[in-house]
Symmetry: C2
Amino acid sequence: MKLVECVPNFSEGRDKAKIERIMSVVKADSSVRLINYESDADYNRTVVTLVGEPEPMVNLILKLTEVCLKEIDLNHHTGEHARMGAVDVVPFIPISDIKMSECVALSEECAKKINELYDIPVFLYANSAKTPERESLPNIRKGEFEGMKEKIQEANWHPDFGSPSIHPTFGCVAVGARDFLIAYNIDLQTADENPAKQIAKAIRKSSGGFQYIQAGPVFLENRGHTQVTMNILNYQKNPIYRIFETVRMEARRYQVPVSGAEIIGLVPKDALIRSLRYYYSLEGIEFPEDPTLQDIVSDVKKYLLFRDFDETKIIEYFL
Amino acid sequence: MKLVECVPNFSEGRDKAKIERIMSVVKADSSVRLINYESDADYNRTVVTLVGEPEPMVNLILKLTEVCLKEIDLNHHTGEHARMGAVDVVPFIPISDIKMSECVALSEECAKKINELYDIPVFLYANSAKTPERESLPNIRKGEFEGMKEKIQEANWHPDFGSPSIHPTFGCVAVGARDFLIAYNIDLQTADENPAKQIAKAIRKSSGGFQYIQAGPVFLENRGHTQVTMNILNYQKNPIYRIFETVRMEARRYQVPVSGAEIIGLVPKDALIRSLRYYYSLEGIEFPEDPTLQDIVSDVKKYLLFRDFDETKIIEYFL
C-alpha cells in the first residue's frame, strides 16, 4: 500500500473555535489518518500531520484549502512565523512503497487542482521546484503575504500555477515533495543559552558539523531550560545516537547535564532501531530480531532519554 | 614576516642515493627551512615539507625542479601513488602574515618560471585553478604520466603555462595555493579493517559526516593494526578533540580500543590549544595563559594519545 505523509500548515493558531471548524473537515475524512495537530499561539499557526494514500490525501488537502479560504483572511493575520497563505505550505513526504518522483507528481497534481478550483496561485517548492531558487521555502516566502502582492508580479516570481497576483484574502501557497525529516530536540539542564548555541554550531551543517543536521538553540520558558533543537534530514547517515552522543560530549565541557530529548511529530521505527543497536552493541547484547513497538519505546526512554514519547509517535503504529 | 609552507612531492622514493642527491639541493639552501622529508618505497615518492619567505621559496622550488629534471625519468617510474611529473605537485600554503590571494599569486609566478626555465607544462590547481575542473588534483592527474601524453592535447586539458605536450622525461606538474590542512590518523587496536571503514564513513563529509573531514581506513602492516586516516581541512570548525571523541564513541560499538593518534607533517599550536581547552574544561581546570610547546606536547600525549610527537611538529617551533 502506497502511503504518504502530508504536513499542511495553516495560518490560525489562536482562535480555538475557528481552528476546530477547520479541523472538523479533516476529522470527518475517514480515508486519511489524522496523526496530530498542534497550534501555536505565538506563531498563530497550526501544523497538521496526516498519513494516507495518495489520492485521498490530495482530496483532503483540497477540502482543507476550501475551509481555510472561507475561514482565514490574511489581511488580519499577525504572528511570529513567516507566512504567505491561509494554507501556507503543503509538503508531501514518501512513507511506504512510494518513490520521491511519485510524490513530486502528486504535489503537482495537488497544486494544479488548488489553482483551478479556488483561483489561488501555487508555487512548487523543495523536490518539486522547477528552478533552484524555489527549492527553499523561505526564499519563496520572503516578503510574506504583504510583500508577495508585488513580488509575484516579477517575472522571476510568477507562480507555477495561476496568474501573477495573489488571492486577496488567502494569499498564495507552496506545495512540494520533500524527504522525511525527524524533528529532534535535546534538553540541556541550564537556563543559560550559550551552551545550546555553541553545541548547535558544533553539530549543524551550516557551521561545519554533520551534513544532514539543522540545529539551533532555544529557551523553553515554561520548562525553564534550554534545548538544542534540530532537524535530522537523513537518519541513515546522521543517526540519532551519534547526534545525541556528540551533544553529550560537547555539553560536558560546560558541565551541563543532558537531561532528556524529544521527537516532534513522527519518527520511523527504523531510525530508532538503528540507534538502539549502538547501545546494545556497547553492552555486547544481541539486538532482538523483531522488537515490539512497546519494547522500542521503553529502550529509547532508557538509552536516548526520550520524554513524552509513546508508540503513537512511531510511524509504523499507523501502518 | 610573511611565511609560506610548501610541500613539493617528487617521484622517487626508493633510490636512497638519488633521493639524497635531490635533497642536497634543498639542504644547501639556508634561506628556506627544511622541516622534514619522508620517502615511501611503495609509493616511490618523497614528500618534502618546507617553511620560508615567499621569494626564497619560489627560488628553491625552481632549483628542486631542475635537479629532479636531471635525476628522474618518469618513463622508468613505477609506484602505487598516482603521478604525472618528476616533481608531481607543489602546493603553497599560507602560514603567517600572508593571504591566500598572495599565495595564489606566488603559485602563478612559480608556475610561469618553471615553464619558462625548463619547458615543463604546468597546471594551476586548488585555489589557483582557473576552472572548477582543475581545483581537484586527482582530476587533473587522471591518466597519470602515461595518459597525459594524449590528454594534454585535448582543448579542455591544455596546461595553464606551456605548450600542450608533456616534457618527455619530466612529464608535467601541478602548482597551486591551498589552505593548511592537518593530516591526522587515529589508531584502532585491531587488525580488522571493518571498524576503521565504518568509522571513516561516519565522520567524513563525503558520506554525511563533518564538513571539513576527509577520512578512510588503512591497515598498517608493520604496526599490525588499522587506522582511521584523515585530513582536517578546517581545525577551527572541526577541532581535533571533536573528531577524536567521535571516533572513540563509534569505536566503542566494536569493542575496539583507540590506542593512539598521530600527526603527519605539521600542526599549528592553535589547533592543539583549542582541543586541550576541551579536556581542561571537562576537569574544570583553567587553561594556562601561555603554555610552552613542551607543556603542549605533554598534554596532547595525555589527552589526545599522540604518539611520535614532539615540538618540531608544531609550526610555531620554527617561527
